[in-house]
Symmetry: C2
Amino acid sequence: MRTGIATVCLSGTLKEKMQACAIAGFDGIEIFEQDLVTSPLSPEDVRTMAADLGLTLDLYQPFRDFDSVNEDLLPGNLRRAEAKFKLMSRLGMDTMLACTNVATATIDDDDLRAEQLSRLAELAGNYGVKVAYEALAWGKYVNDYEHAHRLVKAVDHPNLGTCLDSFHILSRDWDTAPIEGINPAKIFFVQVADAPKLSLDVLSWSRHYRVFPGEGQFELAKFMGHVVRAGYAGPVSLEVFNDVFRQSDVERTAVDAMRSLIWLEEQSAQWLDIHPRVGNSSGTPAVSGAAVRRRYPMELATLPKVAEPAGFNFAEVRAGDAAGLEKVLGQLGFEFNGRHRTKAVQLWTMGHARVIINEEPASGASGPLSVAPTIAALGFDVDSPLLASARAQQLKAPAVPRKSQANEEVFQGFAAPDSTEIFLCQGNPDGTAAWTSEFGDEQATHQFPVALGASGGGSGSPTTGAVIDHVNLAQPWQHFDEAVLFYTSALALQPQPYAEVPSPTGLVRSQVMLTEDRAVRLVLNLAPLLQQDGGQQDSRYGGSSRLRRTYQEHIAFAVADLVATAKECRDRGLEFLHIPDNYYEDLDARFALEPDFLATLRELNLLYDRDADGEFLHFYTATVGSVFFEMVERRGAYDGYGAPNAPVRHAVQYDHLHQMKRSR
Amino acid sequence: MRTGIATVCLSGTLKEKMQACAIAGFDGIEIFEQDLVTSPLSPEDVRTMAADLGLTLDLYQPFRDFDSVNEDLLPGNLRRAEAKFKLMSRLGMDTMLACTNVATATIDDDDLRAEQLSRLAELAGNYGVKVAYEALAWGKYVNDYEHAHRLVKAVDHPNLGTCLDSFHILSRDWDTAPIEGINPAKIFFVQVADAPKLSLDVLSWSRHYRVFPGEGQFELAKFMGHVVRAGYAGPVSLEVFNDVFRQSDVERTAVDAMRSLIWLEEQSAQWLDIHPRVGNSSGTPAVSGAAVRRRYPMELATLPKVAEPAGFNFAEVRAGDAAGLEKVLGQLGFEFNGRHRTKAVQLWTMGHARVIINEEPASGASGPLSVAPTIAALGFDVDSPLLASARAQQLKAPAVPRKSQANEEVFQGFAAPDSTEIFLCQGNPDGTAAWTSEFGDEQATHQFPVALGASGGGSGSPTTGAVIDHVNLAQPWQHFDEAVLFYTSALALQPQPYAEVPSPTGLVRSQVMLTEDRAVRLVLNLAPLLQQDGGQQDSRYGGSSRLRRTYQEHIAFAVADLVATAKECRDRGLEFLHIPDNYYEDLDARFALEPDFLATLRELNLLYDRDADGEFLHFYTATVGSVFFEMVERRGAYDGYGAPNAPVRHAVQYDHLHQMKRSR
């Protein structure tokens, strides 16, 4: 698939945008007119620079408000077009996007439109330009791609064809199947954009909320499947107007964009594989799989397929001083499994939940090591770490070097958009992990009053079989959509509809990503802006630690009996997050709980939720640095995270933070 | 008018919210349930604290999803209600908001609903609680206030009445006139919120985009007029769900909120004055003016009325080092009018445009004086500075002390939300200002090669009669809505529909505020987030200078002949903002300009725009600190600001800034 992107998707100057597109590996670009008009580069400069960067200039856009006008407006419109055709010849470009008229159209007459478009095509022909006519979703008279293409057919001129834009088609819920009936030679261009489903007017939706494929809710693989079946083999180019991308670092956004096309290419191939065409006009037989894909002119590259991860292998917290973490993990019932043979790293386990405390300086960190503990890395169990890593790298995930000695397991790792390091591990079927044998030394034995080597509590312990239930990571606002696509494409997690949780400093957008079997649940939280400290995220670690300093993240562990666990934790002196009395009164008003049970919840600072599927009990620890821990018990088929209780947690944590500030 | 506000409007803990409401001067508050549930304060604590703060607890809210349910759900709903009634008695509260059912309603039957509401009212009566029933705009069966009130009438119970919420009524475009027919004793509560007109689903619109009265587009004065005429005299309470206010400083937002009610009170009185009731059921004769207002139970306080300002009196730029400003003002054709007798302040004039360069340290500045020049103050000509200042202070504008000596004019000043100091001045009818006589000294004469005391150029100069055309100020994102209300209410400027301008670092929201006669045009720009450096704006100057360091602001001067002015400026060596060639080619494609004229534009770096009303010529200077200047010529009745050219300006300025960074 030939990949492309419109310059309007990115921030910066035209020069910066072109360089970023080349670095990200795009084949070509669309020149958005305003980017050229505001640029000090001459058209010839742009042409040379594109050639030097290995980018083709695939589309000049947009040309607006041409058709359906009174005859007295036509000469001016043709004059405008001619000026652009001349400009395009200086740029060495041959395709121009013409949108259906939204502003100056006054005559709703297809014959007149065809005649006017015919004059445009004739003029374009004089300059060797192909005009790709696109139905805007809010076009005054023409807003449906089938209508636009009927006009193209009526004009029947070699210099007039169709441009298909997924946003304009899918935002209006137009049927995409008829795309297959379009003569591929008349599809001059294909633009793709995804978008969340919003009940906003389509113009505002289009101008502000488009996202890259995989970051929204449109059925883009199906759209692309029809385009491929039509026989189109030209560029597939991103045109995404997005308020956030316009502000984000241009090179990062270009990579995010490229990743979305690589992912879309794979998804389109899969759609074609499972939707074999059952007979058609060209008599293609109903054959499924890659064989049939090869019959289409567009070549679709695919990636190594990976299954969804089987679970969390470990979670790693980085800390300048591990004392606070050691204390709280011990109180939670974790056992110290020793220090790493060669690194300043500790292993703590509870059942099958493994937490690493890393006191090494961050790799690539430029400044001093942040003292406050932060969640630094997550390990996931996958079938084949090498294959999954190859996939992630093909998806342009930045690899993370993990220093390793001889005889030690080498982790395949890469950096998530929020700078968390993601490691691909191979867990054992019994829930253990081979690398844990690298831990354990005599010195440590004497430091902690717990036995070495034991994996989990005794069989009578309520935490036997404990696992990491979910991990909650704060996301910088500029990279939230990127993170969703990243975990979707590189780790095969599925995004769920997001929730919004009120906190004392603003609404927190909470996006769950999970596996089908719920073995992995990752919660991405978009914190309020004032907790993001400017949101500048240039350096991998510097940025991340700045964000996390003000917004707390956590790791949640699931146990079989939360009440018993909480009692043991209390007896070990754990500092629970204190839940206000008012919460329990409201809980009682809502759920009419048994008085004894309610008393137990209150006494132990447990939170409670219930829905049609089951019940949820949980508690939180106090925060260490920017990290805290949660213990949960899921009863029945409860599939949530106690969202109704999240505002209580936020309010209490906010109060603690402010008390600490005041007491300083 | 009794003023109130729901705690959900504000950020922080319940305690912080209550304190901020008391400081802002509210009479009472609505307790939003979640704020109580998440609070460590007991209900008794809240009651005591409110009493100590002089706040009444006017409404407990919300109670959801009660009516229209299957009979088997009713006992649970009554149980929930009873728990809340008991809680309210501990809080000492007597009014609860009950919303129409959106979630669990299954039976659309007004008789059943009335019967169920009757049981709720009966139960409420046992606890002395009044239930205010409110139709949510998205209520499943009841979403119209008239429908809700028909149910109240059908139940006919002293403990059930109506709650009117302007958002739920105006968002659905329900007619507000029938409010007057409601028995005032049955209007238990009135909530007000404004909102921009959006074509969003009403639930999202309501939950995220409500604003305080005067910050949106609802006809709230009319709504309130009907409420007053109905005979209601209870609290008028703000209920505003807004993503930004939830994140903003709680005390500032509370003051912003209070200002909106003070303004609404005045606007409502004016609406009543100009909409006398022509006969009605109670036989009130058609009398207009304040006399008729006194017949209504609700007392409406009004403010000193002020006319819109007659013009800009001056603009003031603060700078640690004035050299750069002196140079560019001189090149623009400004004349140095000397130094102030007692302060490190210079006066520069061109025609009637006056620019002050202030080298004094900022009043109240805690840190060192920011060296980079920033726009620090604006003077406006008003009829009566004392009256206008009294009005601003009643609108809770923070007064700004301006140090003054004997025999000097005392400026009445206050701080705008973005920290700009606003001074109210008395201009002379001939366009001069008396205070300018405080300037001028011998020493200065020798420093600049221009004559002293001359007001404007000679009569042959193209800048004779020059005035400040507009001033463009950057606004921090947390205070944009506040700024709109501030200038509307305190300075009688009128907000225009806003525009969005693309820049290399994101979209810039541009909001024009102006007087009817266009003598004052103020442009408020909401800069992209990454230019706001975290947006923390705690200290008046610190915050403001941080913002302005990264986003450039400007002062524009209007002259009669821009081409001649530009030539003179060029001859004086002015550094123009360089406009790329591509711009002029596009200009020609769009407007088909005379070749000579186009060549002149290009040669002088002039920008051009044209619309049905007239033409606009303008140019920009290079930036000094965070300030640049613009010269404009308006031809015909052109009323805009060359918005199509703004992206060019942004792109070129961005490029310069980055070149400077690279060359460091």
